[in-house]
């Protein structure tokens, strides 16, 4: 896609970035776009930290013996990797960055419903991250990100309370973001922006917000109970006094399963935007995709027991949860079919965001299907707590969610910053990510199926070949993440000016300048057409 702008004046236009200068104008901002940038920087930092732990894990696993660190230290590696990645990167990622930036613009609003609560949610996130980092620096936590009791509540000798408090606090950040989005989407749509005309990215964030609001408080109280148990030496989950460790798991997974849908739904929303723009075609089955987002949000609360099949939970409960797990795959499958149908006979362009979208569709499908394997009781007994599970969730979280995030960042980068990134490097990195990802995680399916357990710092020698492939892949994957960090930062200063709509995309956010003005729209837009009203020709829009 070519850009329009040769006019240097337009980059000097007042926009949300240059309207005010100084650290106070950023740290006390109420502008949802600036808050989105604050979040973008924060979660990138947390992603790097989580990534370092991943690197340490993969280094240890190069050899079968536990020769790099002892098992306690290794336990800390995978715990901190999980805690940081899940609670401080994946959960906030798209909603707090792209959602914060674009949901108000997509509905034609001037800001979110509660701008100060939005800023508060960022500060709360930072406070939670501070606790988590404190736990790391003081010596780490070794319970696994799942904090299973009674190890976490009684026997672990690490900084469980600090980490739990960090997660508790970060949960409130998530709740406030969700609350803000729900009220905004209900009450602040521009005239003519009916529910049936909302971009699917908005639907996705809405469904996500429902989960955030309904699920997060339960994990908050669960972790609070664990922290209280540790602090006061009383026993809620301690079998020695009649407590039930399985109850902890029920309450923990009541949130943490829907949490994975908090992570993936916004990514799916991004894919809907990318697939339509880069096929130059309206979405196939709009109401099915919108409805399936809600379907995933609701059914996602009915399946958590599939994490607990081998714990001693009743067989009847296992049956119930297994059946419903099969059901929850259906709305996800609907989306995949509809995206594919959208691309059929579309006019496909292979820009970087679309490469990430292709990657998502393939890798998420594999990850999702392996979820069905795991949801099947008989298979689960064999592969639970092996690397098969690890591969499954990395396929959906990294192959799915992170790719969607990268695709979204690249798609909306020109709008957020007013600059274009170098396309050659971007495509190269996307291919590195795809190749590196598969090299890292596909061998883990095999190793897990053959019996390599997860969360062990040593393994039987016959698994070494898969682990070496995996570590090699991880290096390539890491490079694929590092390069965008460099060229995106580079583009801030040296990138070509983007123009209002470098992709020729439909959507209210593309009708403003790049970067947008602080107040988003000079006059409140009145919406008269459906979402994704593309015609078939490739249009080159001059901003």
């Amino acid at each position: 896609m070519s850009t329009a702008l040769a006019d240097p004046q337009l980059t000097e236009q007042p926009n949300y970035l240059n309207s005010e200068y100084g650290w106070k104008s950023w740290l006390f901002t109420k502008d949802h776009k600036r808050i989105a940038i604050l979040y973008l920087i924060s979660i990138t930092v947390m992603f790097m930290i989580g990534g370092i732990f991943a690197l340490l894990i993969r280094l240890e696993l190069l050899t079968p013996e536990g020769d790099m660190v002892n098992s306690d230290t290794y336990n800390k590696f995978f715990t901190m990797h999980g805690v940081v990645m899940v609670f401080f990167f994946l959960i906030p990622s798209i909603p707090a960055t792209l959602g914060n930036f674009f949901v108000p613009m997509m509905i034609g609003a001037k800001d979110l419903a509660f701008p100060r609560i939005n800023l508060l949610s960022w500060y709360i996130y930072i406070a939670g991250a501070a606790f988590a980092l404190a736990a790391i620096v003081m010596g780490g936590v070794d319970t696994g990100w799942t904090f299973y009791t009674p190890f976490s509540s009684t026997y672990s000798n690490t900084f469980v309370i600090t980490a739990a408090v960090g997660v508790f606090i970060a949960g409130f950040s998530s709740i406030l973001t969700g609350l803000n989005f729900i009220v905004t989407i209900h009450k602040m749509r521009a005239p003519g922006m009916t529910w049936g005309r909302l971009p699917l990215f908005v639907w996705a964030n809405y469904a996500t917000s429902l989960i955030q609001v309904l699920g997060t408080p339960v994990v908050a109280i669960t972790l609070a109970l664990v922290a209280l148990e540790r602090a006061f030496h009383i026993g809620i989950f301690d079998p020695a006094i009649g407590g039930d460790p399985i109850l902890f798991q029920h309450m923990f997974w009541f949130y943490s399963h829907p949490a994975v849908y908090i992570m993936i739904l916004p990514g799916m929303g991004v894919i809907s935007e990318l697939v339509t723009c880069f096929s130059r075609k309206g979405i196939f089955g709009y109401s099915f995709i919108a409805g399936s987002s809600l379907g995933i949000a609701i059914i996602g609360f009915l399946v958590w027991g599939h994490h607990m099949f081998v714990t001693g939970m009743s067989m009847y409960a296992s049956l119930y949860f297994s059946f419903l797990t099969m059901l929850v795959a259906v709305p996800s499958a609907i989306k995949v079919f509809n995206w594919t149908a959208t691309m059929f006979r579309g006019s496909i362009s292979y820009d970087t965001p679309m490469l990430y979208a292709f990657g998502f569709i393939g890798l998420f499908t594999i990850g999702g299907l392996t979820g069905l394997f795991l949801g099947t009781l008989g298979i689960d007994v064999h592969v639970t707590d092996t690397y098969f599970v690890v591969a499954h969730f990395h396929y959906v979280m990294v192959g799915g969610m992170v790719l969607a995030y990268m695709g979204g960042v690249h798609f909306w980068w020109p709008k957020m910053t007013g600059k274009l990134y170098p396309e050659g490097w971007a495509k190269f990195s996307a291919l590195l990510v795809f190749a590196g990802f598969n090299a890292t995680f596909f061998p883990q399916f095999i190793a897990g199926y053959l019996g390599q357990p997860r969360r062990y710092h040593a393994y039987a020698p016959e698994f070494q070949v898969y682990n070496v492939m995996s570590t090699a892949g991880a290096t390539i994957l890491g490079l694929g993440y590092l390069i965008p960090l460099i060229y995106l930062t580079w583009s801030l200063r040296y990138g070509k000016p983007a123009g209002n709509n470098p992709w020729g995309a439909k959507g209210l956010e593309w009708e403003t300048t790049s970067p947008p003005p602080t107040y988003n729209f000079e006059k409140t837009p009145i919406v008269t057409e459906e979402a994704y009203a593309y015609s078939h020709q490739k249009e080159i829009e001059v901003g």
């Binding site: 209900h186 309904l214 339960v218 399985i246 029920h250 309450m251 009541f254 609360f301 027991g305 409960a317």
Partner: protein, 99 residues
């Protein structure tokens, strides 16, 4: 905005709530076996509905508010109910046989 209830309405609701509190108290003195807790919860549920519909004015509110208020209670049922499915059914297999 919607109509404002009269003082009389509010006081009537208050009276009903207070009476039901005493009913709860006195019924608890009678031995109904396992039904004590059921009766107590039913009365509590009814009191909650009165507070929600009248004191919180949901009766006169939009369907959206009613939906959100109902969703909260429903989600709590999902949490407690699905957890109890496990505990209640654990004893159904006393001999380790499935049927």
């Amino acid at each position: 905005m919607h109509s404002i209830p009269s003082v009389r309405t509010y006081v009537t609701i208050w009276a009903i709530l207070t009476i039901m509190t005493f009913v709860t108290f006195y019924v608890a003195q009678i031995d109904l076996g396992p039904w004590n807790v059921v009766v107590a919860l039913i009365i509590a549920f009814f009191k909650m509905m009165l507070v929600v519909l009248f004191f919180m004015n949901v009766k006169a509110d939009s369907p959206l508010t009613k939906l959100f208020a109902g969703a909260g209670f429903f989600w709590l049922i999902l949490l407690v109910g699905q957890t109890l499915i496990d505990y209640i059914s654990r004893s159904w297999m006393p001999n380790g046989k499935f049927w």
